[in-house]
């Protein structure tokens, strides 16, 4: 009943703080309370944003960031789901992997970055490895917890119908755990987005993170905002895309609040 007008109100209320921030930002810049070298006007940032997004050089940087992001995230999804399922399926794997994960999960993976640089070099490989190291844990944990929580009677129904152990794992346990697995993947996706940017800031010769550091070194304040806004929008876009895929995959599942 209240759906239409309700949604409109929600959107309006939600736009409020963002408009407020941009407004205050505009006033600060326009009145000269903040010098442009410290805080450029929002209009200047927006103009630069549009200019950069149509510049092939900038898009190339964005492309290398995306390439590392997807490579790392892809490996993390495959490894995380495979290990997570194995933890539930095999008592032996579970007993080995669970304490390892318990020890490694709270370790700040970014600290491993120097080790990746030393063993894999300064190129893409070390950055992708860092993304994998960071993104794999939420996916692995969500998969292990999700598959362990599957109602055993679902698996029994499949086994009684003649499904082998592996068949049952792949056609029943994993799909039944899909809501949890996808939640883990979404967390992993945002983490990938963040980590790839940070790795590029620490050492890189290309990518969005590198652009931010390069702008900071030459005190080009406007150019510092552009990659930050790009990565934020990229994150929102990827998240929205992921949610669309998720809705399709979970068509039969009862609604969950997320």
């Amino acid at each position: 009943m209240r759906a239409r007008s309700g949604i409109a109100t929600v959107v309006l209320i939600g736009a409020l703080p963002i408009a407020l921030i941009v407004g205050v930002w505009h006033v600060l810049a326009a009145t000269g309370m903040a010098p442009p070298s410290l805080l450029p006007a929002p209009s200047a940032v927006a103009a630069r944003l549009v200019q950069q997004w149509s510049s092939p050089a900038y898009l190339e940087h964005a492309a290398s960031t995306l390439l590392r992001l997807f490579a790392g995230f892809g490996i993390a999804v495959i490894a995380g789901i495979a290990i997570g399922v194995a933890v539930t399926a095999s008592r032996w794997v579970g007993a080995t992997v669970t304490p390892l994960v318990r020890v490694l999960a709270p370790v700040p993976k970014i600290a491993l970055y120097p080790a990746f640089i030393l063993t894999l070099g300064f190129g893409d490989a070390s950055k992708i490895a860092l993304v994998v190291a960071d993104a794999v844990f939420p996916i692995l944990l969500a998969t292990a917890q999700g598959t362990a929580a599957v109602e055993p009677k679902l698996a029994w129904s499949a086994q009684a119908a003649g499904a082998s152990r592996w068949r049952c794992l792949l056609t029943v346990v994993l799909p039944a755990a899909l809501p949890s697995v996808l939640t883990g993947c979404r967390i992993g996706l945002v983490i990938s987005c963040i980590v790839v940017f940070l790795a590029e800031m620490i050492t890189s010769t290309d990518g969005l993170g590198h652009l931010l550091v390069r702008a900071a070194r030459s005190f080009q304040t406007v150019d510092m905002f552009v990659p930050l806004i790009t990565i934020s929008l990229l994150g929102l876009l990827l998240n929205a895309g992921f949610n669309a895929v998720r809705r399709r995959l979970l068509a039969g599942f009862p609604e969950t609040t997320e």
């Binding site: 709270p106 987005c193 510092m224 934020s232």
Partner: protein
């Protein structure tokens, strides 16, 4: 993965990791990947070096301040969001936009405004902590039984007192899950921001050693940061378990990154 891991299993896992590292390093035989024994031998030297110790202490202090301030700001916001649809609608889109932005990446801009001192680093840690704590407080507060609040209102409790005396304790288990994620994030943000600012602290020592090709020290620092992460997480988990012994155990996915 749903059962807690015994301390013995964690110790065995850690020992296994070190043994695997030692073996892999001997097999690889490259400068950039020293065996565990050589890296571990450096730890006493680092931890008895007064200057390094002071650096680490300063890092940890900034982390603690950022964490406490972050929790203090985030819990009230999250709790009110959970009880009021309008407040939730106000904050949600803003938080969604901030979510994929790497907080440590704000370091160059914040340094421009606040200088390279403690204030910038603490602010970045604060930002890193708030998001997960807000999110979990929000979820916890939203899940509080409406009928519990009706009973409280019938007893004559006002709005604020209901929030503090009913919603806060009821949402505490979930809030503490957020704090646990926040704590890991505080450490990660701290290390990362120091890697980017390259001025003082753990992250700086790590990269200075990398620059000077002191590979044993690099790996020793990685171990120190890793152990710090594990110990902080384990200590907090213990505190959490004691504070909310009445609640069902939670198996939150530790999703940590800035």
């Amino acid at each position: 993965m749903t059962r807690p891991v015994s301390a013995l299993a964690a110790v065995i896992a850690a020992a296994g990791l070190l043994a695997a590292w030692e073996l892999a390093a001997w097999l690889a035989g490259i400068d950039g990947f020293p065996p565990a024994s050589r890296a571990l031998a450096q730890i006493p030297r680092i931890l008895t070096d007064g200057e390094a110790l002071l650096d680490i202490a300063a890092s940890v202090q900034r982390m603690a301040v950022g964490f406490v301030l972050g929790v203090a700001a985030a819990v009230p916001i999250g709790l009110t969001m959970g009880r009021s649809r309008h407040v939730a609608a106000f904050f949600n889109p803003l938080l969604m936009m901030i979510y994929p932005v790497p907080k440590a990446a704000l370091m160059p801009i914040i340094m421009l405004w606040l200088g390279v001192g403690d204030a910038s680093k603490t602010l970045v840690i604060f930002l890193g902590v708030t998001l997960p704590v807000i999110y979990h407080s929000y979820q916890g507060s939203r899940a509080v039984e409406q009928k519990m609040l009706w009973s409280a209102a019938a007893m004559g409790m006002g709005g604020l007192s209901r929030l503090v005396r009913i919603v806060l304790p009821a949402a505490l288990p979930e809030i503490l899950v957020g704090c646990r994620t926040g704590l890991v994030l505080a450490l990660i943000t701290m290390v990362t921001s120091e890697m980017i600012a390259r001025q003082a602290g753990l992250g700086n020592i790590l990269f200075n050693a990398l620059d000077m090709a002191q590979y044993d020290t690099v790996y020793a620092m990685i171990v120190i940061v890793g152990v710090l992460g594990f110990v902080l997480d384990a200590a907090f988990e213990r505190l959490r378990a004691r504070l909310v012994a009445w609640a069902a155990p939670s198996h939150a996915i530790i999703a940590g990154t800035t």
